[in-house]
Every structure is written in C-alpha cells, then in structure tokens.
C-alpha cells in the first residue's frame, strides 16, 4: 500500500471540506434516510463525510463532487446493510437480547393509499431498479451523475431507467387495482 517517500505541501483542505459539507449535507442525509430510515441516517451521512475527508484528494472539483459523495454514500449504505446482516446473525447465534437496529420501513409512512401503492411497487422492484429511480426522482441526480454513482455509462442509465419506469408502472397498476378492489370489499362489509 505504501510507496516510496514523497513530500507534499499542505493545502486548504479544511476549508474546501467545510464547503463540501455545507453544500451537500442535507442531500446526503436525505439520501441516507430514504435507504436506511431515520435511525441510521445520521450515522451513515457522517460516515460519508468522514470518507470524503480521508479521500479528499480524490474528490473531483466543482459540481462533480456531488456525484462523488453520492457514490460514497451508495457504498456506505451497502456496508450498513452488510453490518446489519452481521448483527442479526451474531444476535441469532448468541440468542441474546442484543439490540439490532432495524429501521421502520420508510414506505409505511405513506400518506395515502395511492402513495402506499407507489412505495410498495417501488420496493418490489429489483435493488438496481429502485436505486436508479430514487437517484433520478428523489435525489435529483443527472444522467451523468447517476452513471458516475453506479459505475455505468450514460446510455446504460437511459436504458435501465426506461425499463425500471416500465416495471414500476406495471407493479403500481397491479397494486392499485388490487387495493382498490380490497377497499371496495372492505367498504361493502
């Protein structure tokens, strides 16, 4: 890992990091809330910026820094999921009362039946489709930013996004139809 001796002068990393934090902490926090729930979101967001500090020299200049942060967040959240799985596994092995933080699913907070259907349709999609749609719609990333975060090219983003939207529509229609029918049945009884 280490290489030969090098000499480097200090930079104004602290200042630029502070700017980066100010400009992005809300977006990164919300990204984490959407994927982890509010219980773990702050920790994950803090982890993202801690990584940013440690790898500061890798962060591209300008607006590209936002996509870089999202890419880090994407991986931090992946680690959090893996960590949760390990915790559950450990807890099971020990058969103890070890607390395992499992967030309340975000889609349970849906305000209306229609939105609940939307959230359920979304969560029924594959992980990759969900991530694409959330990055596009809720995180407001551009095609090129999404490509950067997911490590694919922009054409692939277009194609996958199109397919994901189609699947979401299909699932949503199915769920809304059944829920409408269920509501009607409940109303008649």
């Amino acid at each position: 890992m280490a290489t030969g001796p090098v000499v480097d002068n200090s930079t104004d990393q602290q200042d630029r990091f502070d700017d980066l934090f100010e400009a992005n902490y809300v977006a990164i926090f919300r990204y984490c809330v959407r994927r982890l729930g509010s219980a773990d979101a702050e920790d994950a967001a803090a982890d993202v910026f801690a990584v940013a500090w440690r790898r500061f020299h890798e962060i591209p200049a300008g607006e590209a820094s936002r996509a870089w942060l999202f890419a880090v967040a994407y991986r931090v959240i992946g680690n959090t999921y893996r960590s949760r799985r390990r915790q559950r596994s450990l807890s099971d092995r020990l058969k103890s009362d070890t607390a395992v933080l499992v967030s309340r699913p975000w889609f349970e907070s849906a305000p209306t039946q229609q939105v609940r259907c939307l959230y359920r349709a979304l969560s029924s999609l594959g992980v990759a489709d969900q991530e694409l749609l959330r990055l596009w719609s809720w995180d407001g990333l551009t095609r090129s930013e999404i490509a950067y975060v997911l490590g694919i090219n922009e054409n692939a983003v277009d194609q996958r996004l199109h397919r994901a939207r189609t699947r979401l529509r299909t699932r949503f229609d199915r769920l809304s139809g059944s829920s409408t029918q269920q509501e009607a049945e409940e109303a008649s009884t």
Partner: protein
C-alpha cells in the same frame, strides 16, 4: 408515474441538525481526538500585512511606518527561539495526532495528509516521508514493525515494515480502531464497537473479546469493561478484573470518562476525557484511593519523563507538568496546538498538531510558564480565562485577548503568559464549544465582563476576524484605553479572495460563514484618540511570495494584496493616534505563535503609555 414519485419523496421533509451531524463527522475524522480548529493562516495561507515595500496609501492618521524585525531571521515562516525549545522540526503537514519512538527514530503520522514521517531523534532531520494512502490515527512501534491504526475499510491495522518502507500486512478489524497498546508479546487493539483484538507480531488475530484499550501499567493492560463501564486490569493470561478502578462518589473514572491510563512514579494516572471540568486522577493501587488534580482542559498524551508526568492540552495550547508525589502542577504555553508527547534521545518531544512541527524540549531550562488561570464561565460555553491577578478587585486595566475565528482562547497562551508575567491582568475570550459570529461574541463578552465584575479600563487585542468583535465591543464605551490589531481581516475580504480564486478555476476557498457579513453599523467607526497599533505579517511570505503568485497569477496576487492593504489602511485610519507595522519574518503560521514577542511588545508599550500598573 414519475410525477407521482417526484411529488412523494418520503425524505423531502427530513432534516438533520447540522451542528450535530458536523460534530459526528468531526468525531470520525478526528479519530482519537476531535480535530481542533486550524489557524486562520492555514485557512487563508497567504494573509498579508502592511507591506514595507509595496506601494500603499496609508491614512494620514498614521504618522510613521514602522518595521518590527525579529532579529536576523530570514523571510518566511520562521519561529522565534523560545526558552527551552532546543529544536523545531517542520513536518509535512498539520494534523499531527500520534507518534512512536523506535530507538533513535521518531515516527509521526500527520492525519491531514496521511503522511508517515521518519525523523532522526539525534539530528532532528526528516529522513523520509511515506504516503500511506490510508487515514491513520494511531501508531505503535514494536516487534520491529510499525503498527498503524487505519480508519479505512471499516477499520484495520496496517503493519509497516520500516526496512522496506511498505505496508506488508493488513488486519481487518470490522470497526474503527479506538485504542491500541503493545502488551506482552502482542498488539492489543480495540474498536469503536468495543471489540478488543489480540494480534501477534505476525499479524494474526490471536483472540478477541469485548473491551476498550486504555493503556498499560503495573504489568496489566487496562481496559474498559463494557459490562460494568469500569476500568479493569487484563493480565497476559487473559484474566480480566483482578484490579478494578473504583468510583468514590466524587471521582468517577468510568470507561466513558477516561481517555487513557498511564503508569508513572508508582501510581496509575487517569486522564479524563471531555472539555470541562477537566482533571487527571492519580490512582494508588495499594490503597485503591483516587486523587483528582485540576490541570488543564482536555489533558492527554500523558508520559513520564525526568521524574514528572507530562501531558498536553490542545484546548489550552499548554504543556503541563505534574509532580507525581506532591501533585504540584506547572503549565507551559506552546507555540501551537499540541498533539503527541514522545521521549527520544534522552529528551522530551512535543508534536504540534498545528502548525505541523516537532519540538525538542530541554526541561532543565526555564520554559516559559503561565500561572493557573481563573476561569470566569458564562453561559452558552462562553468563558474568560484570566491570569495575572484578580481583575475584579482593582481598577487597573485588563487586557482582553480576542481570538481569530475558529480559534479559542488557548491560541493566546504564549502572549497571555508573557503579558501577565509583566504584572498585568489578561483575560482571553473564547468558547469551549462553537464559533459564534462577532455580534454574539461581542454581546457575550460585554455580558460576562459585567456579570463577573471585571470592570474596565480595557486594552483590546484582536487577531484576524477578532477585529470585528473588538470594534463591536468598543462601540459606545468610554473605558477602552488602547487597541492592538494583529492581522485584522478587512471586511469582505473572503468574498474578494474567493472571487480571485474563482477566476483561475478554484472554487470557494472558505466556508460561507467565515466571510463574516458583520453588521458594522454597530461597530466603532471612530476611535478618536484611542491609541491603536496594527501589526501585519510580512507580505513577502504571503501574497507577494513567489509561491502565491505562481498559484493565482501575479495580477491576482497583487489585487488581493491591494485589497488587504486598503483594509489595513482603513483600520489604521480609525484612530488619530495609530501606528502600523510589519512583523518581518512572519509567514503563514500566525504572529501570535511564531513571534509572540512582537505582539507583547506593542501591548506592553500601550499599557506603559496609558496606565500605571
């Protein structure tokens, strides 16, 4: 469909507490120690002073342009030779957290740039600088290797081979390293998840259990036992709890309170974490008794040397010496924020977190000493740290030291010690937490001076952005007898500076809250005949340096220079009794650290002119 999704973002209203999230980030990037604020010169590395050679127009109120020259030092970031400092070794960057000694070699990690530096303890020469490529917060040396505690990849230990200059072994921890010690024939590392690993010299994990490493002493590894939150002994054969450090109702050295445990002079010494109140606790293993000693804010890095216990306070910028038997405490101000303490080549070494440097000290000489301060605590973390007499009992003047934005009162430790040594009362103004705007600082200062009975007259000293607080505080008062401004930041300077950088494609140099949009309508605009001294850095080491010109271009450098000059001329013009001077030989590390004697000379000069002690 996507419209429906756009309109129903489940996190659209989710907000986090910015300050709390930032503190969490700071905790993570600071590692073993929360990173301290960096000095203004590091944030704005090219601060300019009144130039001796640049063409400037100084207000007619300034009768003469003086030059205060610190001896024959060359131009640049040079430090005055302080008593007891045998050698000062510049390091690759700031952010010095920890170090280790291996024979005659000192190893230092600078966390801001992930550099591992090899330094000869005999000559002070930097022998090599290695780019580790990982964020390393801790370092231990034993078994012929250097063991680096890395925060990367969810926490890991890196075994560095000093011969090859390579990391040849990586041990995953699954948690961020939060303590490490060489004990027995093994490295013991604990993580932020309270997992304690025993690692062999070959890099194999021999055992794991719960616990947090706090230090070694009396043949034990001392760990925090998560099940009791008490510091307990762990023997080489794995027995936990043969000795448990008790709590006595007054002193509560529980695991969450203790930063580290050190053996010295027949006692176990526990340094308490947290900023206030702060103490070191002496633990007698024979009587199991606890004896707390107030030393400084956030003491840490305790080391025994020369029959004393030594530690630093990064908050107070102090080196602290404790007599282990009598409990006598001595405090020595340092020219920067301290990090690690090391013993090598028969000498005590202190690594400065900022500016990044390593000091070799001669403890047999007369180090500059400061008295135990009296703390006047206000609300909201605002404090006045006073030395040199009781400011509430006499009517002679009190010197108020106003720090640069992001600094705290500790940044003044050297200046404060040198002024109070002359018999004057000095109060440094600051906060234990937070960085309020000048308007708030001024209001808190006025409130707490009045509330604590510290009446005027006052001599005000402001550093950098501290000028804004000074002017706000001075407005409408008749008890100001003099003002010294050290590198006062011109209004709007940050915006102008950033605009020049933007021209060359460098975005933003400063966080928005640093470009203080101070409400100058309530600032003192006319000092009348109040004596005023403006001290600036040497421009040849700052904006007009070859390095800065190469960075921003000559035209930009000169326009930034002109802006700064205009600002300083404005400040100089506030009083009809003003002087301006350049502190030659001072560069980017801050006059108050590199040449405190220049500031002290001007403060004492004003006090001599205007008062009788």
């Amino acid at each position: 469909m996507t419209d429906l999704m756009d309109l129903n973002d489940p996190a659209a209203e989710s907000n986090t507490d910015r300050a709390r999230l930032r503190a969490m980030v700071d905790d993570r990037i600071g590692g073993f120690e929360r990173p301290m604020p960096i000095p203004a010169q590091a944030k704005r590395p090219w601060l300019l002073a009144l130039a001796g050679f640049a063409v400037i127009v100084i207000a007619v109120a300034i009768p003469a342009f003086l030059v205060d020259e610190p001896g024959d030092l060359p131009i640049g970031n040079e430090f005055i030779e302080l008593p007891g400092v045998e050698r000062m070794v510049p390091l690759a960057s700031g952010g010095v957290q920890t170090g280790a000694v291996d024979g005659d070699t000192i190893w230092i990690v600078t966390a801001l740039q992930n550099k591992l530096q090899k330094i000869s303890a005999q000559s002070g020469e930097v022998l090599a600088i290695y780019d580790i490529g990982a964020h390393v917060e801790g370092v231990r040396s034993d078994s012929g290797y250097l063991w680096l505690m890395s925060y990367d990849n969810e926490g890991e230990v890196l075994r560095f081979n000093p011969t090859s200059g390579q990391v040849d072994r990586t041990i995953a921890l699954g948690g961020l390293p939060a303590g490490a010690a060489w004990f027995g024939d093994s490295l013991w590392v604990s993580t932020d998840r309270s997992e304690l690993f025993q690692i062999s010299p070959e890099g194999e994990i021999l055992s794991s259990q719960t616990g947090q490493v706090k230090g070694t002493g009396f043949g034990f590894l001392w760990v925090n036992d998560p099940s009791t939150n008490l510091i307990s002994s762990l023997s080489t054969d794995g027995v936990l709890g043969e000795v448990v450090i008790p709590t006595d109702g007054v002193v509560t050295p529980t695991g969450t309170d203790i930063r580290e445990v050190t053996e010295a002079s027949g006692y176990l010494w526990l340094t308490l974490a947290g900023s206030s109140p702060s103490a070191v606790v002496r633990f007698d293993l024979e009587t199991l008794s606890l004896q707390p000693l107030a030393v400084a804010t956030e003491p840490w890095a305790a080391t025994e040397f020369g029959g004393y216990l030594w530690m630093t306070s990064r908050f107070d910028n102090l080196l602290v010496r404790v007599d282990p038997t009598s409990g006598d405490v001595r405090r020595y101000p340092l020219p920067g924020k301290p990090g690690a303490i090391l013993v090598a080549d028969g000498a005590l070494w202190v690594a400065l977190y900022q500016p990044g440097s390593l000091l070799r000290l001669d403890i047999t000489s007369d180090l500059i000493e400061t008295a135990e301060p009296v703390t006047y605590g206000g609300t909201d973390g605002h404090h006045l740290i006073c030395t040199g007499g009781d400011p509430t009992t006499t009517a002679s003047p009190t010197v108020i030291l106003e720090p640069e934005a992001w600094m705290n009162y500790g940044s003044w430790s050297l200046v404060q010690a040198l002024v109070s040594e002359e018999g004057y009362r000095v109060c440094a103004d600051g906060y234990l937490d937070g960085d309020p705007r000048p308007e708030q600082r001024s209001a808190d200062l006025a409130r707490d001076l009045a509330g604590q009975g510290i009446a005027g007259p006052y001599l005000l000293v402001g550093f950098g952005d501290g000028v804004h607080t000074v002017r706000l505080f001075a407005n409408g008062r008749s008890d100001i007898i003099g003002v010294v401004l050290v590198d006062p930041t011109p209004l709007g300077f940050q915006t102008f500076y950033d605009s020049r950088l933007f021209e060359i494609g460098v975005e933003g140099g400063h966080p928005p809250w640093l470009d203080l949009p101070v409400d100058v309508s309530t600032s003192l605009e006319d000092f009348g005949t109040i004596p005023l001294v403006v001290i600036g850095q040497d421009p040849r080491a700052t904006y007009l340096s070859d390095q800065f010109m190469a960075f921003v271009g000559e035209d930009n450098a000169r326009s930034i220079n002109d802006y700064w000059q205009d600002g300083l001329a404005f400040y100089g013009g506030l009083s009809s009794d003003s002087r301006a001077m350049t502190a030659l030989g001072t560069g980017s590390s801050g006059i108050i650290w590199s040449h405190p004697e220049i500031v002290v000379r001007q403060v004492l000069g004003l006090l001599d002119r205007t008062t009788v002690k």
